[in-house]
């Protein structure tokens, strides 16, 4: 009994810092934000209250819902694009190169994270602008000038800048850990190499592929930098709407409503995705 109690003490001793940290800097602010969503703003000053005004205003506002749909659509598009574009790269790295090459490739895929995301997004402005690199190249073949800056495509490029290397890394790791005899067994039973990708490799790596996509979705859904600097803020995504709300008329409670809706959406999607990833039959 004493032995067990001592073990309990040590367990709690080492858990305590993390628990305190999470409580102070995650649970408390989150709870505060939730509480704040019921406050009121009077004469540009927040006053504590318990009113549903903000919720009614935001949820009844068409522009909020179109922004929600737009943000969701962009994040879904980024997730699909990143997952589909990353797959051939990850497949090659997992099955077609030596272990050494794979290690180097994974290392190089981490390097983009060494520079600030903001700096990389600014670099894209030069490439995407009307007098930028892509437009100039299109000019050589008689097209353009065309500016991809301040378009949804610009935003998507930014989202992919943020998440693509991560998706490739996660996909590569999950594909490389597939039992190779499963692939041989598929060939052995008359499954062509291309069909094996869809019949065996993707199902076998399902969890990793879904988690990779989920990361892309989460990063894109909440991102502020790309829709602002590459998408031109029009139409606004939810993150831009949060900033706008706080700037115009000190509407922190309305921003809190948007934030709470975003968090609940992400929770629901992440939960569903993970549940689907680990779903087993029989």
């Amino acid at each position: 009994m004493a032995e067990g109690q001592r073990r309990d003490f040590y367990a709690w001793f080492w858990r305590a810092p993390l628990l305190v940290w999470q409580l102070l800097f995650f649970v408390v602010p989150l709870a505060f934000m939730f509480v704040m969503s019921f406050w009121l703003v009077k004469n540009y000053r927040m006053t504590p209250a318990f009113a549903f005004d903000n919720w009614a205003k935001m949820l009844g506002w068409n522009i909020f819902w179109s922004s929600y749909a737009y943000t969701m659509a962009l994040a879904v598009a980024a997730t699909i694009l990143a997952s589909v574009l990353a797959f051939p790269a990850a497949y090659g790295l997992a099955f077609r190169v030596t272990d050494t090459t794979r290690r180097w490739a994974l290392f190089f895929l981490i390097i983009p994270f060494f520079t600030s995301y903001l700096v990389r997004v600014y670099a894209w402005q030069v490439v995407l602008a009307g007098n930028g690199v892509i437009s100039a190249m299109l000019g050589w073949v008689g097209l353009g000038p065309i500016s991809l800056l301040n378009t949804p495509i610009g935003t998507l490029v930014g989202y992919l800048t943020l998440s693509f290397p991560l998706v490739v890394i996660l996909q590569t790791i999950s594909l490389a850990s597939i039992d190779k005899t499963l692939i041989e067994a598929a060939h052995n039973m008359g499954c062509s190499p291309l069909r094996t990708v869809f019949s065996v490799i993707i199902p076998a790596a399902k969890v990793g592929l879904i988690v990779a996509g989920l990361f892309c979705f989460i990063l894109s859904f909440g991102d502020f930098v790309s829709p602002y600097y590459l998408g031109g803020s029009k139409p606004p995504t939810l993150s831009i709407m949060i900033v706008d709300s706080t700037k115009s008329g000190q509407q922190w409670p309305r921003a809190a409503v948007i934030a709470v809706v975003m968090i609940l959406s992400l929770l629901a999607i992440a939960f569903t995705a993970v549940k689907f990833a680990y779903r087993r039959r029989g």
Partner: protein, 361 residues
């Protein structure tokens, strides 16, 4: 031998830094149960994988029903395999695993479902058809793997150490399942194993491989009674190997001088031996007799009893001869009771000359 289904014609497999299979030729008959046996790294699995197309030979030709297979892709062959790890698809249930090969052949869903269920029933696991394969026992998974490989009604089934992960009592059960299936279906089984008991219990013919070469090919009985060389004699185990030189070769008998004394071996096998030639022979452990009194016969070795090992109704005695070499004797339990045994006690091992088998080379 009936018509050959598979021909290996000087087939060779080199990897960058070593040769897995040296140029090797053999044939597999229609409906034969062939075991390929050998220590790890002997090339047995590579040989099997070349037959399935999972490794490309670097020399020679593999023919299947007369057709050269070297450039045929694995998925275009009909050489299903049962893997050591079973390689069942974890994301499919038992029935879907069995259906896989049929689906790839474009069979319609209802037909393939019925076929898969028939096979699962035949192997006695019909009630687990819709169960996740991870939730099946080792023996049940084994049967799913077998059903999955056989459902396409192939002419040949390749098995790569399929029983090595099972408990001993299950191994015996699965052995009889396998031999029964093979007889009923009348198809060719090629069975790779490192286990002598599995190979000898099931196979019509056994290939023993060593260092990428065939050391011996033949019926289990022949390999056991007449090992072709010292490697086989040692690998098969229950053999006593004697090395010496020819002392005299008279018309009636060949006398061999060894460190343990002079022994007589059958003339026929050593007729060309001349005095002074090196000569080795083996005497299988179960052909050696023991007694506490010195028998008045040729081929007697005086020994001490070191230990005994009981295996069912037989017992193996480990004796030590005067020069420290070991002599193995396998006798029945009943026979053992008639001998007065004490550890360290003096014993005489003896055998008739006709039981000695002269090794080539």
């Amino acid at each position: 031998m009936t018509q050959s289904l598979v021909v290996f014609d000087k087939v060779e497999k080199r990897f960058a830094d070593f040769t897995a299979v040296k140029p090797t030729s053999f044939e597999i008959a229609q409906g034969e149960f062939l075991a390929i046996m050998g220590p790890s790294g002997c090339g047995k699995t590579t040989t099997l994988r070349m037959l399935a197309g999972l490794e490309a030979p670097t020399g020679g030709e593999i023919r299947f029903e007369g057709k050269v297979m070297n450039d045929v892709k694995p998925h275009e062959r009909d050489t299903p395999m049962v893997w050591q790890s079973l390689a069942l698809f974890p994301f499919l249930n038992a029935r879907e695993n069995v259906e896989f090969g049929l689906k790839m052949r474009g069979m319609e869903a209802a037909t393939r479902k019925k076929k898969a269920l028939d096979w699962l029933d035949r192997l006695g696991i019909g009630q687990f058809a819709e169960r996740n394969v991870a939730k099946l026992s080792g023996g049940q998974r084994q049967r799913v793997a077998l059903a999955r490989a056989l459902v396409t009604e192939p002419k040949i089934l390749l098995l790569d150490e399929p029983l090595s992960a099972l408990d001993a009592h299950l191994v015996i059960r699965m052995q009889s399942v396998l031999t029964k299936l093979q007889k009923e279906l009348g198809i060719t089984f090629v069975y790779v194993t490192h286990s002598q008991s599995e190979a000898f219990a099931m196979a019509d013919r056994v290939i023993i491989m060593a260092q990428g070469e065939i050391a011996q090919i033949g019926k289990a009985k022949d390999i056991y009674r007449a090992p072709a060389n010292k490697f086989v004699a040692e690998f098969v185990g229950r053999n006593n190997i004697f090395e010496g030189t020819v002392k005299a070769n008279t018309s009636g008998s060949v006398q061999v001088e060894t460190r343990l004394g002079t022994f007589v071996v059958p003339t026929a096998a050593a007729s060309t031996a001349r005095t002074g030639d090196p000569l080795s022979f083996v005497v299988a452990a179960d052909l050696v007799q023991v007694s506490t009194k010195k028998p008045a016969a040729e081929n007697v070795v005086e020994c001490q009893l070191l230990s005994e090992q009981f295996m069912g109704t037989t017992v193996t005695l480990f004796l030590e001869a005067a020069d420290g070499s070991e002599i193995k004797v396998q006798i029945g339990q009943r026979e053992l009771e008639t001998i007065d045994l004490t550890h360290g006690g003096r014993l005489y091992a003896s055998w008739p000359s006709s039981r000695a088998h002269v090794l080539a080379g």
